[in-house]
């Protein structure tokens, strides 16, 4: 149980979805606030949003991660079930400002919270990748490659803090 400093995660074998499940040592209401309050969400997710999250709302987001501040994207909020479930759709890898992604399929991101003995179990699922054109995935992959090392360093910093 000491291995919870870094979220343990499971990745499904399917090419269509990614699932992460981990436990947070905080009450469910606290974790919920970090999801449902767009300012809190933006703090750990490294984005700023132009309006609060509400069902059906299209929220304009800008990355706050250093070096990526030029990247903007839309989140379409799907469902909000207080303290239990939050979901939105977006265009994965939509990080090229010159591209128009609006006609492409979106993936669905779902957060589910459950109370467990040590705090709150968080499940994150992103699904719908099979509908994203292969060429787009390839392009996104190349663009992500550069940021890879920086991301790894961020995580290390976080874990060691």
């Amino acid at each position: 149980m000491t291995a919870t400093a870094q979220p343990s995660s499971s990745t499904a074998n399917s090419t269509d979805r990614i699932e992460k499940r981990f436990t947070v040592n905080a009450p469910r209401s606290r974790v919920w606030r970090a999801l449902a309050d767009e300012k809190e969400f933006g703090t750990w997710f490294r984005m700023s949003f132009d309006r609060p999250f509400s069902e059906g709302a299209t929220v304009f987001a800008r990355l706050t991660h250093p070096g990526y501040e030029h990247v903007t994207l839309d989140l379409v909020v799907e469902r909000i079930q207080p303290e239990r479930y939050f979901s939105y759709k977006w265009h994965p890898y939509a990080i090229d400002p010159k591209s128009d992604y609006t006609k492409e399929p979106m993936t669905l991101v779902e957060f589910t919270l459950e109370e467990v003995k040590d705090g709150t179990a968080v499940t994150i699922v992103e699904s719908g990748f099979d509908r994203i054109p292969l060429g787009r995935r390839a392009e996104a992959f190349r663009m992500n490659e550069k940021g890879w090392e920086g991301q790894a360093k961020n995580l290390a910093k976080h874990v060691e803090a």
Partner: protein, 115 residues
Amino acid sequence: MSRRSAAALKVNEAVPVFAALADPTRLRLIGRLSTDGPLSITRLSEGEPVTRQAITRHLETLGEAGLVRNVRRGRERVFELDLKRLEKAKQYLDVVSAQWDDAAARLKAFVETHP
């Protein structure tokens, strides 16, 4: 960091595959090879708006990425897909997966340090 480094290594391996696929002509060639099986350069050039030489170069790029190999059939050379290698394309999910690992770590750190 070890789990992470291992993931990064896998990602590096997959980069040539994705670079090779990130081109509309090459994607089309892959598509034709997957539906029509092994084909000669002559057949692969049919209907393409670019020269046969350009098609040859694209096939070389795909060959270097290990996606396509050429084999001798009688007197001609034909190109076929290397399906095992193409499976690697699935590794794009590893990148997204690692990003969610990062995000999950940040969410955890955030709620635990801001009660």
